[in-house]
Amino acid sequence: MGINTQTKKKESQSPKILRFTKGERISHWVHALAFFLLLFTGLGILNPSFQPIMNVFGGIQIARLIHRGAAIVFVVIVGLMFVVGNPSHHWEWLKSVFKFTKSDWQHVRAFPKEFFGGHGDYPPQDKYNGGEKINSLITIFGSFFITLSGVVMWMAPWFPAGLVRWAYPVHDLSMFMMVAASLGHIYLGVLHPDSRAALPGMFSGYVSAKFARAHHALWYERVQNQQQKL
């Protein structure tokens, strides 16, 4: 990991540590905004009781068009972020979430208690803890399957009916899983008293060193050591 200026002293006494690069933040927010636009424009087709709400988009037919446009952003822009600019952190994230370690499992086991405001016991975590890895995996597989099925639904006449029929349940299943995960994700990022300290990391890129030490000790130590070697 060739990262310099990982930590920097802000004017005052509270030290900060860089968690997400600009590229990572762009990917996160483009994906998030496209996701919600896709969700809201998809609702009118999911259930007719949502169809009156589609007037905010200018009617159901416009909503269907926006769904397709947002799908392109959802896939192409975020896909491009893995190759243009400085994408190494994207790939590091991808590699790390597929490496599920023992301490990740220990985190996951203690997680429900933490989620509801208690204190679970688990070993020091790396940059991504077990819960974050699961959320990442749901996002990765969900995006993959919702894209494949979405393309088949979009280009339905090109595909045999026997395949298109299966795209519908796949699209819905991916959607439900990702929506469920995103609810928990937003709660932890915005409303959870301990973990919401991570939120600035997705805006400015920096989180407080105190938070990093408490929640991601392994990562924090490693970054500190690298700093000292410089």
Binding site: A161, Y168, P193
Partner: protein, 259 residues
């Protein structure tokens, strides 16, 4: 209104296609450019503007040729896959047994097209609406026969109450089977009992019809498993978040530390 039935007795069909013209006439559907598909068949598939057509198969046996002709249109299933698949509750089933699309509600998503085991409904991409045979429900509900039945000259199309006509169909079948042992009824049991029932001269696969049409497994899984289970997953996540927020308020976690 009682359950109705239309018997398509292919043993009496001469392939004159008057039914297809009558359909266009009554439903005010413009003629489309046709081309020779095979034999005397000039229409390959349904279209938003063509709701019925006649398929022709030339069957050779012992140096003689026999026409297998079949008027194709929506079967008006007893258990319609299109109705289950519809995204907009635009498809309903009448008491008389016809499956009709409400074009005020239809958004042209094509879910019916993809899920119909017979490939009947077709979406007009300009209007963004799905179209298919209505069974001339506007005629039927005013005590008239569907236009195709009205015009048929040979008695290949018959319209009546379901129970009466099914009995007649069975009598006719035993008659036809004397010369055509493979003849059979199609639609009596298929798809929950269809409103258009066929007396076929040969096995359904010879006509290119599915041997055992059913509601697609993927459709059942989608509507009866993925939807409810997914709803529970999302509802469960939402409930967990609400409980989490409350637990933290009760514990006073929001006041204690802020870093």
């Amino acid at each position: 209104m009682t359950r109705k039935m239309i018997l398509v007795d292919t043993s009496k069909c001469t392939g004159c296609k008057a039914c297809t013209v009558a359909c266009k006439e009554w439903n005010e559907l413009p003629a489309e450019k046709t081309q020779l598909v095979t034999s005397y068949q000039t229409q390959k598939d349904f279209s938003p503007k063509t709701w019925t057509y006649v398929t022709f198969i030339e069957k050779y046996k012992d140096q003689t040729m026999n026409f297998l002709m079949r008027k194709a249109q929506c079967f008006h299933c007893g258990d319609p896959a299109c109705l289950k698949a519809c995204s907009s509750k635009a498809i309903r089933q009448t008491e008389s047994g016809f499956v009709v699309i409400d074009h005020k509600k239809c958004i042209g998503c094509g879910y019916c097209t993809e899920n119909c085991p017979f490939g009947v409904p077709k979406v007009d991409q300009t209007l963004q609406k799905s179209f298919k045979c209505t069974g001339c429900i506007d005629r039927v509900e005013n005590n008239l026969k569907p236009a195709c039945v009205q015009t048929c000259q040979t008695g290949a199309l018959m319209f009546g109450d379901y129970s009466d006509l099914l009995g007649q169909a069975k009598n006719r079948l035993s008659e036809v089977q004397k010369t055509h042992p493979q003849a059979q009824l199609y639609g009596e049991k298929e798809m929950g009992g269809t409103t258009y029932v066929y007396l076929l001269m040969d096995r359904p696969e010879v006509y290119g019809l599915p041997v055992n049409p059913t509601i697609p497994l993927s459709l059942t899984l989608w509507k009866d498993v993925v939807r409810p289970v997914g709803g529970i997953a999302v509802g469960g996540a939402a409930a967990a978040v609400v409980i989490g927020v409350f637990a933290n308020i009760v514990k006073g976690s929001y006041r204690s530390k802020d870093d």
